[in-house]
């Protein structure tokens, strides 16, 4: 991918190269991403889980312009330093994405986001939205709360704090945030491919012995 800006591919003598997606994100850059791509994201992320998605669905108004931005399904543990008053993220792994299935496509349509990060994959409505509105689904590593928190270099703002700290919309800056594209803007879903392969194996393994 990503020929849109200063992206140097990071090849660790792997069969497959780790790609980079750098801020500012563009539709063109994410369109080059394919299901199965391993990507390091550097730039901004906006957290949003159940309450944020419901808010955006109900009001259709976002407290911040989400055009060409990425939403991260995450309820981080954030502490405020009592001296500096600065926020620090203590743990920030992904939460299960499928709960946002009813809303995600609308948020792509109404707010022009270019990416969603979460875990576990999403359903057909979202996959459809990815194609229509030029967006990708990135899968982060579930359970890796410390590694992912370390990639967050600053907390730049917080919106919708009235929803409670884990549910609020945190504006974060990340460097080399590791994800895998599992659903792309061309209709390919790694989850579907893996499931199909799994079903074939199951048939062979269980029905022929």
């Amino acid at each position: 991918m990503s020929d849109n800006n200063n992206n140097n591919n990071n090849n660790n003598d792997n069969n497959k190269t780790t790609l980079r997606l750098n801020y500012p994100y563009t539709k063109e850059a994410v369109k080059n991403l394919k299901a199965g791509d391993m990507v390091l994201i550097s730039g901004k992320l906006f957290t949003g889980r159940d309450a944020v998605h419901k808010h955006l669905h109900d009001t259709q108004i976002s407290p911040v312009n989400l055009f060409n931005q990425i939403i991260y399904h995450c309820g981080p543990v954030v502490l405020q330093n009592p001296q500096t008053k600065k926020y620090e993220v203590k743990a920030a792994g992904p939460t299960t994405s499928i709960r946002e299935e009813p809303y995600q496509w609308e948020i792509m349509r109404d707010h022009g986001i270019v990416g969603v990060i979460g875990k576990g994959g999403m359903g057909p409505k979202t996959l459809d939205g990815l194609i229509k509105y030029g967006c990708v689904y990135f899968h982060a590593i579930g359970g890796a709360a410390q590694v992912l928190a370390e990639k967050i270099v600053s907390v730049d703002n917080v919106y919708l704090m009235e929803l409670g700290s884990p549910e609020a919309m945190w504006e974060l800056s990340v460097v080399d945030f590791p994800v895998v594209v599992t659903m792309d803007s061309h209709g390919y879903s790694l989850h579907e491919i893996i499931k199909r392969k799994c079903d074939q194996h199951l048939k062979q393994l269980l029905d022929h012995n």
């Binding site: 391993m38 543990v77 502490l79 920030a92 410390q146 590694v147 895998v180 989850h191 893996i194 392969k197």
Partner: protein, 312 residues
């Protein structure tokens, strides 16, 4: 009859000691995995193909374990249901113990070893201290001591089980036509594999299964979780179940679901199977799915209720 040794947990020194022992047990459970688990996770990392999505995921998993341990911070932000298993002698004061353990859970939440993770199911309020109906979850068992040395032995185990993996656990009732599972061991195997296939990567694979064959619906659930307390490198005493455990792992790892469902060689780290008697009319196969962050640790207490040894 033997003399019963009644422990008064509220006596000053003892209360402080058991509080500190439990807090350290909880800290360690949340921030470090035991060697039997890390050994098999590191092997899974080695097994995956260089440059694959699976290797990428396993590398992050490995780095995360090291980072959490060095920072004494939760491995995963979902610190889960707190399950406390106590194996105790005759005369152990369960109620006093529960009161102290709740204080420990509150303290561990303040210290950030546990997330504010317990929600009232009717008004959806999070009390913020992890205390509420059914939480933490206590399980007491009075032991049958075999010799005088073991008469006063107290063992405490804690398991932290997050929501992502809890949601993909299942209870099958056999026979089940859809998955071609009859009321026999082949049917049991099909029921277990079906849970792995349905979960895909959603339970944060590679996972560990605790299984109970039989029981009623509730005893089957309890026993399936109890199986997760076994060491991953142990062997089932029952040769039939030992064989079945290995077979399930071998089949699951041929499904190419892989870490996080990205595809790859390791889908299942281990499978532990127990059984309970059933009614003639019922045949349940209950599967508890545990994510790769298989957090459980245990301690044996000394006579002052300080930590005598670690069980894993």
């Amino acid at each position: 009859m033997n003399e019963i040794n009644v422990i008064n947990l509220n006596s000053i020194g003892l209360k402080e000691n058991i509080f500190n022992s439990l807090l350290e047990l909880l800290r360690r459970t949340s921030t470090e995995l035991t060697k039997d688990v890390t050994d098999i996770l590191y092997k899974a990392y080695d097994d995956e193909v260089e440059g694959s999505e699976a290797k990428y995921a396993m590398k992050i998993i490995k780095d995360n374990l090291e980072l959490a341990k060095s920072k004494s911070a939760p491995i995963c932000q979902d610190t889960g249901t707190v399950l406390i298993y106590v194996n105790h002698p005759v005369g152990f004061p369960q109620r006093e113990f529960m009161n102290i353990a709740k204080e420990v859970v509150i303290r561990a939440t303040e210290l950030g070893y546990l997330r504010q993770n317990s929600v009232n199911s009717i008004n959806q309020k999070n009390a913020g201290n992890n205390i509420g109906l059914g939480h933490p979850s206590f399980h007491f068992e009075e032991h049958e001591h075999v010799n005088e040395n073991e008469k006063n032995k107290i063992e405490i185990r804690i398991m932290l089980k997050g929501g992502g993996c809890e949601n993909v656990g299942m209870q099958h009732s056999l026979p089940n036509i859809t998955i071609k599972a009859n009321r026999d061991l082949d049917g049991v195997k099909r029921a277990i594999i079906d849970v792995v296939a349905q979960a895909q990567g959603k339970g944060c694979s590679p996972g560990v299964l605790g299984v109970c064959i039989g029981g009623d619906r509730s005893s089957g659930q309890l026993e399936s979780k109890h199986q997760l307390l076994r060491k991953l490198d142990d062997h089932n005493e029952d040769p039939i179940l030992d064989k079945l455990e290995k077979e399930v792992v071998a089949i699951a790892n041929k499904l190419e679901i892989g870490p996080m469902g990205f595809g790859g060689k390791t889908t299942l780290l281990s499978c532990k199977i127990g059984h309970l008697n059933r009614l003639p009319a019922s045949f349940f196969v209950t599967v508890a799915y545990m994510c790769w962050v298989h957090r459980r640790q245990g301690i044996e207490l000394d006579k002052d209720l300080k930590i005598k040894s670690w069980l894993y």
